[in-house]
Amino acid sequence: MLGQYVGLLLLACAPLGLMWNDPYWINILAYAYLFGALAAAWNIIGGFGGQFSLGHGVFFAIGAYTVARLYLDLGLTPWLGIFPAAALATLVAVLISWPTFRLRGPFFAIATMAINEACFALANYTDRLTGGPRGILVPFRAGFSNMIFIERWKYALLTFGFMSITVLITVLLRRSRLGHYLLAVREDEDAARAAGIDVLKVKLLGMALSAALTGAGGGIFAMYVRVLDPPTLFSLPDVGVKFALISLIGGIGTVMGPVVGALLIVPVENFLRGALGGEVPGGHLIILGIILVGASLFLKRGIVGAFTIALRRIRDRRHS
């Protein structure tokens, strides 16, 4: 069972091996792997737990700012810095989620969006920690201990590694008791409570794990893009909503769904922007919007879902 996922991950690594020399595609791949990881992290609470958070940008931003600050002010290598970053993200996540987990479904989603916007305004307002509207700029100083590389394929390898770890954590979670409790909560919260599950604790644990991984991903982002300002980190369409979108299109609540979704959406979006972005204002986004609407209508269970259904049909046909 685990072998199946390892195999799929290796398959996801194939483009890296083939295109390591092409900086354009490698950059896209590195980004795709990172967002695959971030979507997989979101999936833990959003997919398995059924708590549709649209405010994960907050954890992403905390991770990015923390790693950057620790690196610039204390000289702490980002390889270690991602741990306090993840911890801080987790702390904030638990604090925010404790009260807001009372809300269900779309109410929870809207509340998380509101929190995201509030944090954006706060990050923009305070100069000390976040650099205010200017943000934090991490200068380029190549070196393994800096997590800053000249060759882009090293970044791709890094984000691939991070994605693999996240996916494997997801696999282990799925099979663990917490995983089963999360799924039970998603299916029917009241029944789960009646069965004796501590629903709030389960949700908080799931959110903690999700936020920790998201924070770590934010830290990696910080050392890749190295320009961190509130509009970039708290953007709902580019960050918060995107994690959910990628999981949805790939197959929410599945293990490989976020990976598949990211490996599809990120290159497609970049390709469209590169091909159409300049001439017709907004042209590439019109096409992206059509693709999104089409995908929602025709890929209701996501790509992995559609794939699984097709596989099942083939199997049924063979047996009949």
Binding site: T100, R104, F107, M113, A114, P237, I249, G282, I291, K300
Partner: protein, 296 residues
């Protein structure tokens, strides 16, 4: 002291804007239960349609609303039928779909206008009214009275008419309504059309106030959602008073604390209220218990 009343008035009028934008969303969210990201875009489209009527057809925007609202109603029906009805049982995909619509509408308008900012001609925005020695912009006063009138009319509609009662039944309990013989799909269609038409009215009445840009819908959407949820799902007075409250909080926070923080402040207050009272200020307790995974 005069300043205080100025802020108060300004807050009330701003509340009128929020109420007007949120009333349509309240219906849609309350009945069809989807997070309709595209609601702000409906307002934007209506604004541009009004601009077209005013600038190219020479129609007064307050008359154009009678043209724009029915058009938006039909448009809403089309969207509901083609995109949202097939996704009835997939609430998360509905969010995804409406987000796709948001991107589509915004950027289509960008492609059409190349991003130039338009303003309605005719000097409507320069009409100033003096109320008890305080100054107010005429167009905003119109918006406030329109919001009030629409809220009252909508309440009457929901209480007294059959389609209105059907809507209230579906808001309360979808399954029970179906068992009672109510055609839930048709109710969805009607509601979505109505909600979009109300967005159309909002767009037409707000067009004289703002500079139009393809992205202006985004400025309203989150606030509209927050107002609807704060006021209480499906409650028309909730959306109305919710809008007023938000307007007042924003105005006072902006003046007495800092305009750069006012959004943060009222969002935090919003979350705090929700946590204490998840059904919103005037919502039916339990109405919010219906989560994303909806029964059909």
């Amino acid at each position: 002291m005069e300043t205080f009343f100025n802020i108060l008035l300004s807050g009330i009028l701003l509340g009128g804007i929020y109420s007007l934008v949120s009333i349509g969303l309240n219906l849609i969210f309350g009945v069809v239960r989807i997070v309709n990201f595209a609601q702000g875009e409906f307002v934007m489209l209506a604004m541009y349609a009004t601009y077209f009527c005013t600038t190219h057809l020479g129609i007064n925007p307050y008359l154009a609303v009678f043209l724009v609202a029915p058009l938006m109603f039909l448009f809403g029906l089309a969207v509901q039928r083609t995109v949202l009805q097939p996704l009835q049982n997939e609430p998360m995909m509905q969010i995804f779909a409406t987000f796709g619509l948001l991107i589509l509408f915004e950027n289509s308008m960008l492609a059409l206008t190349r991003g130039e900012a338009y303003s309605l001609s005719g000097g409507y925005s320069s009409v100033a009214i003096s109320l008890f020695g305080l100054k107010a912009s005429g167009v905003r006063v119109v918006v406030f009275f329109a919001a009030t009138g629409i809220a009252l009319a909508l309440m009457l509609f929901l209480q007294r008419t059959m389609p209105g009662k059907a809507i209230r039944a579906v808001i309360q309990d979808r399954q029970a309504a179906r068992l009672m013989g109510i055609n839930v799909e048709r109710t969805y269609l009607l509601t979505f059309g109505l909600g979009t038409a109300l967005a159309g009215v909002a767009g037409a009445l707000l067009a004289p106030i703002y500079t139009l840009s393809p992205y202006i819908g985004e400025n309203f959407i989150l606030a509209a959602f927050a107002v609807v949820v704060l006021g209480g799902l499906g409650s028309v007075p909730g959306a109305y008073f919710g809008g007023l409250i938000v307007g007042l909080i924003e105005s006072f926070a902006g003046f007495y604390i800092d305009p750069a923080l006012k959004q943060a402040i009222w969002f935090i207050i919003f979350v705090a209220v929700l946590v204490v009272r998840p059904s919103g200020l005037m919502g039916q307790i339990g109405a919010e218990e219906v989560g994303l995974r909806e029964q059909s």
